[in-house]
């Protein structure tokens, strides 16, 4: 295991949910202050060093230029800062696990920089950091990720459970999370986590996280693994109370469904990059919400596990290694992410939110999902419909706290 995975396992053994921010700032001093504040929060925390968008797309010149001009960046440019600078950011934090979060279809320079700084945990995946994060062909991303994994000896989390942030039905999120973890393992990574992002309905989400655990136990029995839940990754409530309620609900979901770690969002999410204080508050609130609930071993069965299993098996039956199989699967549309604009995504699948607030398929394209799972009643086609679907969770939480109903 790794320092990062050890810390999560230790917390889990004590029945504590690990909470983690998504935090990154360009300035080394601010980055260090942020990590120290997260370590000091009244919660079981691990730290995050989120990389800026120039570094993500490999434009290190633009990152350097921004540093030089004092322009603000949306994260920490880990490749452009000197390794000594990053070591100084982390100085004295050796017992405190820190994960590097990036969003890069070519993570090789980032993996090298984090290893050089003495860090052992990061995340992403050849599909989840290409289709919604890059223009690069999926084939290139698979190649870069294979190489990066082969050189890597730490803990790696898949971002597959978060495709597009919103409106992707849970079975596909679960399948992609499992498939990317299988890809990591094939390329020698021995400690992984599988992600799932909170969606539009708590019962459906709990079912999905149970399905994720079942498939991880089946396909990843020979590596160390845990599950990480992300607080809602779509359009966030605009009011502080609405944002807090949604974040707290994510913490309760994580505990009830047996996840070991949670990545939080702040009251600033809908508006701008959060401050350190807003991140600390989000961590402490989430920890408090988590401590008020406990694991529930049963959940509804509306077919998420069956759908996810069918998707994973269909991909693994294709010839070649997991990367080759993923490429073929996207080429044939056996995997097809709704609303994804990337040219290597088939683009025939569509989804919507039904009357009960559950995410449903409007069409599944060529994916091996039974027709009975398709609900043709709610296809969203106009800009107004799309915006309403994207804002549904935000509106609900803003409205609910407005009425003072804090459950």
């Amino acid at each position: 295991m790794t320092g990062f995975a050890d810390a999560v396992a230790l917390a889990a053994a004590h029945g504590r949910l690990v909470v983690q921010p998504r935090m990154g700032m360009a300035s080394p001093l601010e980055m260090r202050a942020g990590l120290l504040a997260v370590r000091g929060a009244r919660a079981t925390t691990v730290g995050t060093l989120t990389v800026d968008s120039y570094t993500r797309v490999g434009d290190h010149r633009a990152a350097l230029e921004a540093l030089h001009d004092g322009a603000r960046l949306n994260g920490y440019p880990i490749v452009s800062h000197h390794p000594d600078t990053t070591r100084a950011v982390l100085d004295g934090l050796s017992g405190f696990p820190v994960q590097v979060r990036h969003g890069s279809a070519d993570p090789r320079a980032i993996f090298a920089a984090l290893a050089e700084a003495g860090l052992d945990a990061t995340e992403g995946g050849p599909v989840s950091y290409c289709l919604p994060y890059s223009r690069k062909p999926l084939r290139d991303s698979v190649g870069h990720w294979s190489e990066a994994c082969e050189e890597f000896s730490g803990h790696l989390e898949t971002f597959g459970g978060c495709m597009m942030g919103q409106l992707c039905p849970p079975s596909l999120l679960v399948a992609l999370s499992v498939l990317e973890a299988i890809f990591f393992r094939f390329h020698g990574v021995e400690s992984v986590s599988l992600s799932y992002a909170q969606q539009t309905n708590a019962d459906q989400d709990a079912e999905a996280i149970h399905a994720l655990r079942t498939l991880a136990a089946r396909f990843l029995s020979d590596v160390d693994w845990h599950v990480v839940v992300y607080a809602y990754m779509g359009v966030f409530p605009r009011t502080p109370s609405g944002a807090r309620l949604l974040n707290d609900n994510a913490a309760r979901l994580a505990v009830r469904a047996g996840a070991e770690r949670l990545i939080v969002k702040t009251v600033a999410e809908a508006h701008r990059i959060p401050t350190v204080a807003e991140n600390v508050a989000a961590l402490e609130n989430a920890a408090a919400a988590a401590s008020s609930v406990s694991f529930v071993s049963s959940c509804e069965d509306n077919g998420v596990l069956a759908e996810a299993t069918a998707l994973v098996e269909a991909v693994l039956e294709l010839p070649g290694d997991p990367g080759t199989a993923l490429l073929a699967a996207f080429r044939r549309g056996l995997l097809d992410v709704p609303y994804c604009l990337h040219p290597d995504n088939a683009g025939h699948a569509r989804s919507h939110i039904d009357d009960t607030g559950r995410l449903r398929w409007s069409s599944v394209g060529a994916m091996p999902i039974p027709r009975s799972a398709v609900d043709r009643s709610g296809t969203t086609t106009s800009s107004t419909h799309l915006l309403a679907a994207l804002h549904r969770v935000a509106h609900q939480h803003d409205a609910r706290t407005h009425r003072g109903d804090e459950s």
Binding site: V57, R72, N74, P132, Y133, S134, R135, G165, R272
Partner: protein
Amino acid sequence: MNNLVLLSGTASDSHTWNLVYLQLLLEEEGYRVVNLGACVPPVLLADECEAEQPDLVVLSTVNGHGYQDGPRALAEVRGRPGLAAVPVVIGGKLGTGGPEPAQADALRAAGFTEVFDDDTAITRFREFIAAFVLASTADSVS
């Protein structure tokens, strides 16, 4: 006027729901839309502008690098033959700290036809489009 809008993300920005939404909105207003998607480098944007000769270029970015990425994209487009005057607008969440009127003015001064960076963005954009159609019909009549 062939009613063509070229819609694009900026070089460092991978967000696409903004682009999916704006494409639908523009199509509902009667435009043809070429949507270049996310992470569009300035050279690709300018190449596509040269090839498509759009009536309007719409840049959308929400990742907080708009004040840096916007001017670089615009400079490349303006430098190409025949594109010195094509209207180019930008909108979204341009900085990392909420709307900044002074920075928006700097974008206008750099040559953006209009900047839509706050809660009134979509309302003002609809007005802009309506006025834009009127102006170009007037042009073609005279």
